[in-house]
């Protein structure tokens, strides 16, 4: 109507300016209407092209859209001990999951699931939240580790549980439980912090990541590469057909140097003490046992430890999560004396045969302070061998005082103390060998000579890990040859040996250590075995005894007892094993830890008490 009207108007209007404007306007409106018709014709023509001409093509594409790519997570590599025993493996478990989109009455189904699976309210609440915020076609995990009974029950109730599926998956398992908790570590669910350091493409479909120990250190090797599966899904997203499979590359297995029975004996030998045992093969650097006690069950962490259980572990006064073998540091106590003796020989401060009178205490000239010996009445005239054998404190006070802190620091650092050993474990501590520079930097104070004196018997600021002690005794056993400690063969490495002015110095000190166990006055004489053990006892003070008081173990609370330390290697002539044992609040090294080390050595060297071993007579200096 409008169009015809305006057209007629346009024809009849006069030249009047206003009506001319109107005439033009109506003509333009007519044109605009034409444009609109053309525009919509174009749209419909194009739609018809897509929907009629190309309909078959696009239908096919829409069908193809139904092809989805699913990720096949790789199987995590297993971890074996030296003898091929599985220390960390994978077992198949069954888990129930629910796809919200496929569930007809999700509230009702959750009630059934709660009843059958015995879910507590917290879990159910968490599940509801995950369903609410997740995508409707993504399955939500209801419960893992289904028992056969639960699976049977779910299968029976299947008609009332649309959308609920039972799927199998591999779960990490640690068959030896707490025995390898610290060294092998554990895997756990990938969290936000983990996501920052991994390539998310490689972790598609993977639930676990190594959190500590070997599991973390060798994560890249253990994890593997995920595969892909192209599947055709129907309009509801259900898999109809598998089209193409790129298999996952499973993670590589890892063989550790550890030995399960030895580890077990080491753990058992610690008894009820908190502490650590490290047994190393000094010839290769292979760690044969590495125990930290108390321990925890790594299986708890695999599927996400409950808050309560985790709090209990964190709040345990014995701190079971703390790795006492490589992370904890302790004063090395008297076990540092063989190294001090080597330093004294190296710097020409000691003559091995020269007798030194060791009284009940040592005094810095011009100072009244008494640096007391552990034996109230002193040791009398002792040479180097006897000083080590009897663990004469005054002898080493004097030595340290004459050596000075700078040379002491230099030699001990050269021995690898105060530095990481380089073992293939995360979280290793450096320990501490104090120096003037260190004290100025951290405490802002100058170094006092008295601190040098007590450093001579491994007290004061000096700290080392049990692993460092094992490494130290390995170097002593091998007379200076150094191997980097390792758990996995590819970390094996020969470090530059320690060169002394006279190689005979090694023998002087090693013989002292032999006499610690095998002489009448040795502090560890009670562990003397038919084969030859060389070692050194130590006692690490945790409690400072007042100047005029005496240390009475009976009167002190257990937590104030000294830590007991023992380092040793055997057999003396051809060292095959080096052991460092530390028992927290164990009292004395000779009484507590030396027998523990003996048990480890006995097993490792194949000695059984029933076997008769020919006693040998050993000359000084051989």
């Amino acid at each position: 109507m409008s169009i015809r009207d305006s057209f007629r108007d346009a024809q009849h209007d006069a030249l009047n300016d206003r009506s001319r404007g109107r005439r033009i306007f109506r003509r333009r409106v007519l044109l605009a209407a034409l444009i609109a018709v053309i525009v919509f014709s174009v749209l419909i023509w194009r739609a018809a092209f897509l929907q009629v001409d190309r309909h078959a093509h696009f239908s096919e594409l829409a069908e193809k859209n139904r092809i989805r790519t699913l990720v096949i997570p790789p199987e995590r590599g297993r971890i074996f001990d030296d003898d091929g025993r599985v220390v960390a493996g994978n077992i198949a478990t069954f888990q129930a999951q629910i796809t919200p989109e496929d569930a007809t009455d999700i509230k009702h189904e959750l009630v059934i699931l709660q009843d059958v699976l015995g879910l507590d309210d917290d879990t159910l609440h968490d599940l509801r939240e995950r369903i609410r915020f997740g995508r409707s076609f993504d399955p939500a995990l209801v419960n893992s580790d289904l028992t056969p009974y639960e699976m049977a029950k779910l299968a029976q109730l299947q008609p009332w549980l649309p959308g609920v599926e039972i799927v199998s998956s591999l779960k990490r398992t640690y068959p030896y439980g707490r025995l390898f908790a610290h060294v092998v570590g554990y895997v756990g669910r990938i969290n936000v912090a983990d996501l920052k350091r991994i390539n998310p493409d490689l972790y598609q479909g993977t639930q676990y990541i190594g959190k500590s120990g070997i599991e973390r250190q060798y994560e890249d090797i253990l994890h593997g590469t995920p595969g892909h599966k192209e599947v055709e899904v129907d309009a509801l997203g259900r898999v109809v057909k598998v089209l193409k499979v790129t298999p996952a590359v499973p993670g590589r297995d890892i063989h550790l140097s550890l030995d399960v029975p030895l580890q077990g004996i080491a753990a058992a030998s610690l008894g009820s003490y908190s502490g650590a045992v490290v047994a190393e093969d000094p010839r290769t650097g292979a760690i044969k046992a590495m125990v930290s006690r108390p321990s925890f069950d790594p299986n708890l962490f695999v599927d996400g430890i409950s808050r309560k259980a985790y709090q209990a572990l964190l709040n345990d006064p014995e701190r079971p999560l703390y790795d006492r073998a490589v992370t904890a540091t302790y004063p090395p106590g008297s076990t540092i004396k063989p190294v001090m003796a080597l330093a004294g020989l190296q710097y020409g401060l000691l003559d091995p045969d020269k007798k030194f009178f060791a009284g009940p205490y040592f005094q810095i000239p011009g100072d009244k302070h008494h640096y007391r010996d552990w034996r109230k009445w002193g040791h009398g005239w002792v040479n180097l061998d006897q000083a080590i054998t009897q663990s004469c404190d005054v002898y080493f006070y004097d030595l340290a005082y004459r050596m000075g802190i700078d040379r002491l620091h230099e030699f001990l650092t050269g021995f690898g103390l105060g530095e990481k050993t380089g073992i293939d474990l995360p979280g290793e501590s450096t320990g501490l060998v104090p120096s003037r520079a260190w004290k100025r930097k951290t405490k802002g104070q100058v170094w006092y000579p008295g601190e040098t004196v007590i450093a001579g018997i491994g007290q004061g600021y000096m700290l080392s890990t049990v692993l460092q002690l094992a490494q130290t005794v390995s170097i002593l056993a091998e007379s200076g040859k150094r191997k980097r400690p390792w758990l996995v063969k590819n970390n094996e490495f020969t470090e530059p040996p320690i060169q002394l002015k006279n190689p005979a110095f090694w023998q002087d000190v090693r013989h002292g250590m032999l006499d610690v166990v095998n002489s009448a006055h040795g502090t560890a004489r009670r562990i003397a075995a038919p084969y030859l053990i060389a070692g050194k006892t130590g006692t690490a003070q945790v409690f400072t005894v007042a100047q005029n008081a005496q240390y009475h173990a009976k009167d002190l609370a257990k937590k104030l007892h000294d830590h007991a330390v023992f380092i040793g290697f055997a057999p003396y002539g051809d060292p095959k094993i080096a052991v460092a044992v530390l028992a927290e609040h164990g009292g004395s090294g000779s009484g507590t830890t030396a027998p523990m080390a003996r048990r480890v050595m006995d097993y490792y060297l194949g000695y059984q008490p029933s076997k008769v071993v020919k006693p040998e007579f050993v000359q000084h200096g051989d």
Partner: protein, 398 residues
Amino acid sequence: MAIKEPRSRFRAHERLDSASGLGGRQDWFRVPGRIFGVLGRIRYDPVLLFFLMLIAAIGLVAGYSASEQSVIWVEKSAFRFVLAFLLMLLIAQIPQRLFFAVAPWLFAGVVLMLVAVWLVGDVGKGARRWLDLGFIRFQPAEILKIGMPMMLAWFLSKRPSPPRFVDVVIALTLLAVPTVLIVMQPDLGTAILVMMAGLFVLFFAGLSWYYMFGFAAVISAAAPLMWFYVMHDYQKERILTLFNPMADPLGAGYHTIQSMIAIGSGGIWGKGWLQGTQSHLNFLPEGTTDFILAVYAEEFGLMGLIILFSLYLAVIWRGLYIAAYAESVAGRLLAAAISMTFMVYVFVNAGMVIGILPVVGVPLPLMSYGGTALVTIMVALGMLMSIRTQRSFLGHER
């Protein structure tokens, strides 16, 4: 034309029905709001309202499917539509004189705000579009979609009817300044709509064809310059993607490809309501907003599209009809420009969805879920109704 036609016969009844503003032989049909008694005081255009409500109803039906059958979405969307229709009716009650009285002030204000956005605007999604006034955060450019045709209609109605050269230059300047400011934000979609709205006013005011061809020539010369100096990478990418969507099927071309698959697989009769696989398997992004037409076309097919496009065409036809019979020069210019801008909205969105135009964020009027754009469109349609129902009392053209 030389013949001076006696106008009396035509003018007589026109003057008659317009003199009263209500009377005349076709009055009950032309102003039917009067027949509803109390409601009769509300001025509206029933024809326009009918078509708009039909489109909105289709929008809700398609949206229910696109939102994965969310009743909450439909409730929210319906509530918005009710508010928007009330707003439209409210605007329709305002005398059109008022629109043109505020037009220059509104225009000046918005241009100032655009400058403010340029200087201190809030950045959202990589573009500086928002102005935060403390209590409200909005895009001034959105107002210009109505403000621009209002301003130009007001300006050109004061000038001799086929605009002279000077007037055209002034009008183009008024058009260019805010358009450039919007392009700089950058918001190409809005800039195009604002520019088109302004150009339509000029077109209806009787701009000489010489100027129009000249303008077209300038545009085609400027296009390469725009490409190299003005356009942002993401805009270029969208245009390139249009020519070859398969080049980047998972990136820039994804929207276009998935949308074309959805439409094409719909066929003549569609897959049926709630049966669209593209939208329900989440292949189609932004199903409830810019790409709702694809969801609709997949489920209702070519027939559904023809029905929907016919409804849109009916709205535009009614708008042009209102313009053709509007009394004042400014009113008819505004009404025609609004109708054609409405058409541009539909064309840009539908063209994007069916893959003949690049992906620009222009919603489909009354179908897409979105607040600001809906308000703008409803205000414009309200003005159209106001122009329809309220005539000049002077009885002749001003």
